[in-house]
Amino acid sequence: MFCSGDDTSGHGVTGRLSPADSDYLAGARRRFVRRLMRATLAVPAALGLLIVFPSLTQASIGVGVQGAPVRLRAVAQPGSSYALPPVYVVNTGTQDESISMHIQRLSHGPGRTVPSSWIQFTDNGMQLPTHKSARIPLELVVPADAAPGKYLSDVVVVGSAAISVGKTNLGVAAATKLEFSVGQGSGPRLGFPVWILWTLAGLLLLAAARLAFRASGPQVRVARKPPSSTTHYQGGSS
């Protein structure tokens, strides 16, 4: 077998190959043909997949929120503010989204509906890149005239992106429960264990009783006469 080509200096090169070189070249040609056939088949196959599964190429909007309810462990007191656990949100779509949150009663069950003005959001309307997550802090502000009892509503996370069908904007939202209780308005607590409060109260009562006793009660004065070293007895004799 002959082969021809150009060397690096630009001169033509012609020569006869050994059988081993010839086999090597034939194998290389076969490998090239196989790769070419694979590439030729792969492109239509990929196109076919995209036709059968168009969602592979579709833009999508998506949002996720933590499944666990947002709960305040302590009993909220009227006139106080509380930091609620941050809410986990994630962009499950294929585009960057604007994430907004609001309070809405969607869940069924006992409990008063949480007025939306009680919950304040930080970073509401934040931009969240695709497949990224964030934790958004919430604050519960209980007005002084809040009715006591259990409260239930939902934290609704809305994802918005520039996706529309004709003149229809498509939106997604996910909600998780918001639960807390409001106690009777008995003033702020100091956070001490109950037994300490009882002890202090008893102590104060004791001190007050002692003061009252000292101020109004009868006083008994006890004086001790210092003992003298000699004792004189005077006796008479008749």
Partner: protein, 214 residues
Amino acid sequence: MTTRVWAVLIVAILAIAGIGAVNKSAQTTTIPGASTSATVNVLPTTRSITVSPGEATFSDCHRGQWPYHSTSTLLGQPNGECSVGTLGAHGKYPITIDNLGIPSNIEVSASNAVPADNGARWQLCSTQAHPACTGPGGAPGPNQYKARTAASGELNTTALTTDPACDFVFDANGGCRAARGQSRREGIKLIGPARFSDSSASFTITITWIAVAP
């Protein structure tokens, strides 16, 4: 002398209280035996939903009366009808809704239609919910429209309202419970107003799918 005694007594009580508090906190963190512990933080389980609109626009329009009879892509009046996708037994339903997270109820709502000049809106009405459609036979009245989602094989169509309502596509038994990973393809049908006062060439509505706790 007595004041000092009382001060000592109060300090002692507070000290005992402090010791009690420390002991209490120590009880919750002490690990018995010669062992060690490590905590791993995990991603929270999520309730999530994804909507893929597909290659679709409002089309397949019909009804209306001359000179406002609908064309294939333009809504006419009175009560012209358009759809996203072609609805019916062998129709095409281009919008895909995926419940990616934990099992949830899938609900859907729509907004009023906003004209391009932000003028008089079309109010979303319903035959079963408030506000009611004021046209004859439950059709939308002036500056009203109604819409519903639809899917192949769906037993109960979902009339859209401004408040989220069960999207029956997800549960053949009449609910809207979606399992993890469950997806459905849907279309939208819209019936326009008997007549509309705003002269804008386009109106925009927003349809929102929401995943809520069952």
